[in-house]
Amino acid sequence: MTAQEIYDILKAQFGEAVLEAKLENVADPFIKIAAGAIKEVSVFAKNDERFQFDYLSCLSGVDFKGKLGVTYHLYSMTLRHKIVLKVEVPTDAPNVPSVESIWKTANWHEREAFDLLGINFLEHPDQRRILLPDDWEGHPLRKDYQTPEFYNGMKVPY
Amino acid sequence: MTALTTYFNDIYRSVSSTMTGMRITFKQMISPTVTIQYPHVKMKMPDRVRNRLFMNFDDCIGCELCAKACPVDCIDIEVMKAPPTESLGETSTGQKKRIYVTKFDIDIAKCCYCGLCVYPCPTECLKMTDVYEFSEYDRSNLIYNFGTMSPSEVETAKIKVKQYDEEQTAKKAAAAAQAAAAKAAAAAVPPTAAPVQNAPPQSLDSTPTQQ
């Protein structure tokens, strides 16, 4: 299924929640989804006969200076097509619904995005830091992140 | 398969696969070894090997391309534009040197041996050698000072540059005054540009780090 068809179906199904799409002249065609609707869209994308996106190949968080974004790379093992979904949330209220209940693999990806970018995944069962120590302050992949001088009495920059 | 045949089959297979394994290990035991006695015997290094960085300071023109190419910032260079009156000699490829390199340090402890600094060097003075035994007891010994200018030389160079700069500013001021005077005298004559001698290489445009 081409990206255009996927977009059309999603647009028909969710209307307003599908914000925009860039399907041509890009490396990977993507569809922007309203942050609040990502869970519903994901459920639909996984369970719909035409989509069957059963494989979440990557979930990445991005800091767009003022906005935080999450990118979902979906793939279907049965139908062998793919699509990219993107959501954006403001940095001061970075709440994105978790898709952990749909794709279990999102669990660690979302923990990583929470850890490094401070995106809050709603209804995530186990939202803890994963790569950094539990008592680390700040979210390093934010663009305005300042490296701390000391961590537990150890000098940080070498 | 009934339980009993499985039982005996398992026993048979354990014995036979153990025998196979023992045969293989015995065969390997009597076959020649593949290791070498390292400090006494050394492997031959291929031509392209990338180990310790070596820098031929005589050829360095101070362009700082290597420092920019380094992903881990292990090359530390300080340069100073030399007055054009000064002759700094030539590189072995015949390129004229125009910049004082007052400091050229490579912190080999930080080096990641990627070789990215080797490619941009215009005079091919940086290269990766096949020396791989250079551990030290003191970490500070791993900072290699390739620069050959002694502190006193650096001082004299600084003074020379300063003098030249002062001269230049004086000249410029004079020229400006002259130009102003000329302008006042006859507006038709276009002012001459400030004397541009020996335009520095492109890459130097963004090196404001020096004193």
Partner: protein, 347 residues
């Protein structure tokens, strides 16, 4: 001079002196095996191992021992200090005491008692106590795991091992190890693995059962000395180092020494039971006390080598499989052999 003679005739002094023979032997043997194991392992793996100290690294075991002696003797703060220190010695004592009844040659046996093999089985069981003690006293979960595993393992494998011994005892009708060996004297054809010194029909009937008993005993002896494929108590990829994780320096060395001594002990028992102990394979040719000591040690070392060879070939079993092998394979087979041997001996 007379006083010295008198002193030597004193039974206590004599036994103390005699007791030195095995310990000297163990020390020398441990060095040789340490070197041998490293070399065999290395050559199996296409490596060279020790090459630096002495000719082909022959002095390396001495250096290793010296290093272990110099090392700081660490006792963890939370450990039970008394038991922690006692355990390695207990392990060693159990093994060492068993050497008393080994007939090293036709002319030398520490204590020629009639219940030799029974004593050996009993004394070597002391090892379990030591291992359990070390694991418990270390106050380390991995160590505890290792020692519990080893206790379960050694106790389980004692049964097929003892049953195998029982089969041999039934054939030979004695528990005295010197007598056992003497009964197999007279050349390679008289060894029990080849049917022993019996009439031809009986001999041929005995051979398969003796072979099975030999394999059973070899396997259970390997399990008793905790060597691959039965090295679960110290499985380094699971339990770090098992019961001796917390040990260092001299105490660790003692564990090591005990393990190697135990290795020779069980190999020696295999030799005595099935391969004619110190008897020469050529009958009276190359016999005599000195040659017999040579044969005994050589045969023992051969089985040590087989142990090493197996160790570097096989992967490790899992706990439940270990128990499976003991209770469901070795023990029934051993019982079956005993019954069969009983029939053969009666008929």
């Amino acid at each position: 001079m007379n006083e010295l003679k008198l002193l030597l005739e004193n039974p206590i002094v004599m036994s103390v002196l005699l007791a030195f023979v095995p310990i000297v032997f163990i020390l020398v043997y441990a060095l040789v095996t340490l070197y041998g194991e490293m070399k065999v392992a290395a050559h199996i793996q296409n490596r060279l191992a020790y090459m630096e100290n002495g000719w082909h690294g022959t002095l390396q075991p001495f250096a290793d021992i010296l290093k272990l002696l110099q090392k700081e003797d660490i006792i963890p703060t939370a450990a039970d200090k008394f038991l922690f220190s006692l355990a390695p010695y207990l392990v060693f004592v159990g093994t060492y005491a068993s050497f008393a009844v080994l007939p090293f040659s036709s002319g030398f046996i520490g204590s020629n008692i009639d219940l030799g093999i029974l004593y050996l089985v009993a004394a070597s069981s002391l090892v379990v106590v030591g291992l359990l003690m070390s694991g418990w006293a270390s106050n380390n979960k991995w160590s505890l795991f290792g020692s519990l595993r080893s206790a379960a393992q050694i106790v389980s494998y004692e049964i097929p091992g003892v049953l195998a011994i029982l089969g041999v005892v039934m054939v030979l009708g004695t528990m005295n190890m010197q007598t056992m060996t003497q009964m197999q004297d007279g050349g390679i054809q008289n060894w029990l693995i080849f049917g022993g010194n019996f009439a031809l029909g009986q001999k041929l009937a005995l051979i398969p059962f003796m072979f099975i008993l030999f394999v059973i005993y070899l396997l259970s002896s390997m399990a008793e000395v905790n060597r691959t494929p039965f090295d679960l108590p110290e499985a380094e990829s699971e339990l770090v180092q098992g019961y001796n994780t917390e040990y260092s320096g001299m105490k660790f060395a003692i564990f090591y020494l005990a393990e190697y001594a135990n290795l020779f002990l069980v190999s020696a028992v295999v030799v005595i039971l099935f391969f004619g102990g110190w008897t020469s394979p050529f009958g009276s040719f190359m016999g005599g006390p000195v040659w017999s000591a040579f044969w005994f040690i050589m045969k023992g070392m051969f089985f040590v080598f087989v142990n090493i060879w197996l160790r570097w070939t096989l992967p490790r079993l899992r706990v439940d499989q270990l128990m499976y092998v003991s209770w469901k394979v070795l023990t029934p087979f051993a019982l079956f052999c005993i019954i069969a041997i009983g029939f053969i001996m009666v008929v």
